[in-house]
């Protein structure tokens, strides 16, 4: 029931802001905050049930939607989706909190985006998953297109169209793959398909797996984005209005990595293992390329976009390490990266609001004028660069460990990315906050802004020092996924290399 509230209350908020409250700014803001806030509480209320048995689908609800082909409105949460749902509702709440000056339609679209993302993380039906996956495009389209800001040569219109066409084109083939799975398995119900696989009544030969895997992979790789499908990302992150930036940078990429972990590994184990080599190669490229390009970016949001490219490369590397540490790291890092990047975008939004742009050269020496802003930014930047005792460290360390099991070279190359991330983040911090005192005064964090960033900073520290509260539920699901990704026994002989890599 809690999950249903977390999913539907924002939808009610969306409808209200779009229709009844479209003229009433203040009421709409309160209503949006309330619906997002209650959704967040509802997502927290699911925690005890999921904690009890993380591998089971809790809060499950299945309603017949369409009789033929049998599509169910089937949702539920397990240990893997739990924290992602919580992070979604939290970041959406924060994004709405920072959008107090926006009009009701803006808030409405943010709420619809929340519905879409929570829906993706909680769908138990492949068709429903696809519907939510595509649904996230609609609010993003309007938020970027109508409220985006041109940044230098990048116009927001061009960035919007690029984003939409890229991600839409990436995902259409996934629909074909899902349809194929349905025609083979007779159901869209994901748990049912997995049971059939387990029972051996549903088998995909390696020849079938490969195109299906690639269709899924393409959709997720564009969404994540993974190098070389990232062309839309920097433009989109830079021109997106700040509240959208928080949700987009923090969560949109996780739709891709979540899909990889949740669907690609268990459904197409042979193909996934066969492709692991070059996918890891791409992930390493993303890590290094993203980091190197980030160093020279003159714009904070653009820098954060490339930083995301780099960090999401880590997550993909962790997933395709096929080692429990790598999977755990990836799952943990998904949540951590959402919190950290979301936090950085909140602060970037504050900076942009102060100066009217995010060009690094417009800032300098802010630390003396805005101590709170500087401190919180430093914490977030350090967390993002993987400082021990802050959250990203845990995830990245586990990923590197997993990658080392898959091949030491992967881990070594990825570790360079960690160093580079410290370079670009700290250099950016230096140019923005340190240096001679600026002449004009700049306002420090307002109460509202402080309220927005505080929970994220706390989480960065909490998740850094006490990963034991978060990781075990994810790990339990990862164990199961890893088990499922070994399934197709009779085909395993065909891929001895993958076996050897897996090692244990």
């Amino acid at each position: 029931m809690y999950l249903l509230v977390a999913l539907f209350l924002p939808l009610v908020g969306f409808l209200a802001c779009m229709t009844l409250l479209r003229k009433a700014r203040q009421t709409a803001y309160t209503a949006a905050l309330a619906s997002a806030g209650i959704a967040f509480l509802a997502s927290l209320a699911m925690v005890p049930e999921v904690m009890q048995n993380p591998t089971r689908v809790s809060q499950a609800l299945a309603v017949n939607w369409i009789p033929y082909p049998p599509i169910h409105f089937s949702i539920g949460a397990d240990g893997l989706s739990l924290w992602l749902i919580a992070a979604t509702t939290l970041l959406s709440l924060i994004a709405i909190l920072t959008a107090s000056k926006r009009d009701p339609q803006f808030l409405a679209w943010l709420l619809l985006l929340e519905v879409g993302i929570v829906g993706v993380f909680s769908s138990q039906d492949l068709f429903l998953f696809f519907v939510f996956f595509e649904l996230t495009l609609v609010p993003t389209l309007f938020l970027m297109g109508q409220y985006g800001k041109d940044s230098g040569k990048t116009t927001s219109n061009a960035a919007t169209i690029k984003f939409f066409v890229y991600t839409f084109a990436g995902s259409v083939l996934m629909l074909a793959a899902i349809t194929y799975l349905f025609l083979k398995a007779g159901t869209f119900d994901y748990q049912n398909i997995l049971l059939q696989v387990q029972a051996g009544s549903f088998r995909l030969s390696p020849a079938e797996q490969m195109p299906l895997f690639l269709a899924f992979f393409l959709a997720f790789a564009v969404k994540t984005p993974l190098f070389p499908f990232h062309a839309w990302q920097a433009d989109a992150y830079t021109t997106a209005p700040s509240p959208l930036g928080i949700v987009m940078a923090g969560l949109m990429g996780k739709l891709g990595t979540y899909g990889l972990l949740r669907f690609c590994l268990p459904l197409f184990p042979n193909a996934a293992r066969e492709c692991a080599g070059w996918i890891n190669g791409l992930a390493i490229l993303a890590i290094l390329y993203g980091a190197l390009v980030a160093i020279v970016q003159p714009n904070i949001k653009r820098l954060l976009a490339f930083s995301s490219l780099s960090h999401l490369g880590f997550i993909v590397l962790g997933i395709f390490s096929f080692h429990i540490n790598g999977l755990d790291g990836a799952a943990y890092q998904m949540v951590c990266h959402a919190i950290t990047t979301g936090g950085l975008f909140v602060l970037a939004g504050v900076l942009e609001e102060r100066k009217g742009s995010c060009e690094i050269s417009a800032f300098g020496g802010l630390a003396s004028r805005t101590p709170w802003l500087a401190t919180t930014f430093l914490v977030a930047a350090l967390a993002s660069s993987g400082l021990p005792s802050l959250n990203n460290f845990v995830g990245e360390y586990l990923i590197l460990q997993g990658a080392a099991f898959a091949g030491f070279a992967y881990a070594a190359a990825a570790a360079v990315g960690v160093i580079l991330s410290a370079v670009y983040l700290l250099w950016m911090y230096q140019r923005t906050f340190l240096g001679p005192n600026p002449a004009e005064d700049t306002k420090d964090l307002s109460n509202q802004e402080a309220l927005a960033i505080a929970p994220l900073i706390l989480l960065m520290i909490w998740m850094g020092v006490n990963s034991g509260s978060f990781l075990p539920v994810q790990s339990a699901v990862n164990q199961k996924i890893l088990q499922q990704s070994k399934m197709n026994v009779e085909f395993r002989v065909a891929a001895p290399v993958a076996e050897a890599i897996h090692g244990n």
């Binding site: 369409i66 009789p67 033929y68 082909p69 696809f130 519907v131 939510f132 595509e134 649904l135 495009l137 609609v138 389209l141 309007f142 297109g145 109508q146 927001s156 219109n157 919007t160 169209i161 939409f164 066409v165 839409f168 084109a169 259409v172 083939l173 629909l175 074909a176 349809t179 194929y180 349905f182 025609l183 195109p211």
Partner: protein
């Protein structure tokens, strides 16, 4: 039954919808003689709508007396009923769109409504024909009225060009069709679809395969013109752009739907025994139609032209489901045609509110007419195929049927071209929501109430079948079951 020259009551009942349409067409024409110049025709649209409604009732009644009529020339089954109701619904929406459009231009006249009703008789017959001659007669009745409708605004150069082009190319295509029909008759000695199938299916008496294939190809060419499939698609954008916008809405939906009905009926019945011959051809046509339609639309800057090319691309999608050659495919055709009609007529209705139809004329529409812009967004989203719209499920069913028939490449490429299509539909949304209003933009009048009704009905259908497609698919499946 066939030998008796006097039709029985049941037979007449099965033909009742066409008779009602004919009576109303004539009555409108007579009523028109009481007016002398083109001006407002108070009550005439309503009268036409009553005719359409009565025809719809007759269709439902006839649907419960299924069977053949007039020496097996006509067949009434649930397939016929589906298409009859579909074209009647499209015509109703087109009439509602047309009357404010024509009134604004001081061009309303009874012949417009009369021609539309006459055109419908043809389309209704096409859906019901069980006979190649009947197919030909139906297509001609539909086409000749359509040619005149395309040029209805006779002082408009564009409309004249549109009508002339449509007429010349259309007659050419009819020539193909008729030639194919005469070949078929020469080879099999009959024009009855079932008898043709029986002869072609019996290897002892089947005529030469090559010649029959040529006959089928000629008929296919004629029908491809009517559905604007490659390589006979080039007329569509010109005709839809030049014709009065409500006529474009009608022409891009109703005659096409009827032509698809004929295509299914002729090829899935008469030429079914030699499906291995025409299926590869149809598959190639489907593929090329999708590619050509979608790529050509990318470069257009006029919304009517975009919709014109989009209608080509959409014909391509429907052909995919036809090429899937299965019951699943036929029901997908039916579903998609219904969904496409709603979203396409809706989009044309929005366009009909504007004097100029360049993309830039829609700049900033969201600020000036938020509701209209929102509804247009619904239609565009559906044409893109975003979830929770009828267009999404339509495409899903189509490509599902293709995958089910193991046509993976066709499905894959089709889906990719539909992703390309997102680009040009998005340009309309972009113009409405993301571009500033031009300084010299003309004042916008509040849309007439009948136009609003069209927009709301189309949007309700588009979203309704996007969230609950079950009922329509169920009906489509029941209507397609009897075909084979």
């Amino acid at each position: 039954m066939g030998t008796n020259m006097i039709p029985t009551g049941d037979e007449l009942l099965r033909f009742l919808p066409e008779m009602i349409l004919a009576v109303f067409a004539v009555l409108v024409m007579l009523w028109e003689s009481r007016h002398d110049e083109h001006g407002e025709r108070r009550g005439m649209p309503m009268f036409t709508l009553i005719g359409l409604a009565l025809a719809a009732v007759a269709t439902v009644v006839a649907g419960s007396y299924q069977g053949l009529a007039f020496s097996n020339m006509i067949v009434v089954d649930s397939f016929t009923t589906f298409f009859r109701l579909l074209v009647l619904a499209i015509a109703a929406l087109a009439v509602l769109t047309a009357s404010p459009f024509l009134r604004e231009r001081k061009a309303e006249g009874g012949e417009f409504y009369s021609l539309m009703l006459l055109s419908l008789i043809g389309q209704s017959l096409m859906a019901a024909s069980n006979e190649l001659m009947m197919v030909f007669i139906g297509i001609e009745i539909s086409s000749i009225s359509s040619y005149v409708l395309a040029g209805y605004l006779r002082d408009d150069k564009r409309a004249n060009e549109s009508a002339l082009k449509y007429f010349l190319l259309g007659s050419f295509a009819t020539g193909f069709l008729l030639y194919g029909i005469s070949w078929t008759y020469g080879l099999t000695g009959t024009t009855n679809l079932n008898e043709i199938a029986a002869i072609l299916g019996n290897s002892d008496i089947a005529p030469d395969k090559v010649l029959t294939s040529a006959a089928a190809a000629l008929i296919l060419a004629g029908l491809c013109f009517k559905v604007s499939a490659f390589p006979f698609q080039s007329w569509a954008p010109d005709v839809y752009q030049g014709a009065a916008t409500p006529v474009g809405a009608f022409l891009s939906a109703a005659p096409k739907a009827a032509a698809f009905a004929t295509l299914l009926r002729v090829f899935f019945t008469a030429f079914e025994p030699m499906s291995d011959r025409w299926l590869p051809l149809l598959t190639a046509v489907a593929l090329l139609t999708m590619i050509v339609g979608n790529l050509a639309a990318l470069w257009q800057s006029d919304v009517k032209r975009i919709l014109g090319y989009s209608s080509i691309a959409n014909a391509g999608y429907v052909l995919v489901a036809v090429a899937a050659h299965s019951t699943l495919g036929v029901s997908a055709v039916l579903f998609y045609l219904a969904a496409y009609s709603a979203m396409n007529v809706g989009a044309f209705a929005v366009v009909s509110m504007r004097e100029q139809t360049e993309l830039s004329d829609f700049n900033g529409l969201a600020k000036r007419q938020p509701l209209t812009a929102a509804l247009m967004t619904v239609f565009m989203s559906s044409l893109i195929g975003l979830p929770l719209t009828a267009g999404f499920f339509g495409k899903f069913y189509i490509f599902q049927s293709a995958i089910d028939s193991e046509m993976y490449w066709l499905a894959g490429i089709g889906l990719l071209t539909s992703a390309v299509a997102a680009f040009y539909y998005l340009r309309v949304i972009k113009a409405m929501y993301m571009e500033p209003v031009a300084d010299d933009a003309p004042e916008l009048a509040v849309p007439a109430s009948s136009l609003q009704a069209v927009l709301f009905v189309s949007a309700a259908v588009t979203i309704g079948f996007g969230i609950f497609p079950g009922w329509l698919l169920d009906w489509a499946t029941r209507s397609s079951g009897l075909l084979r």
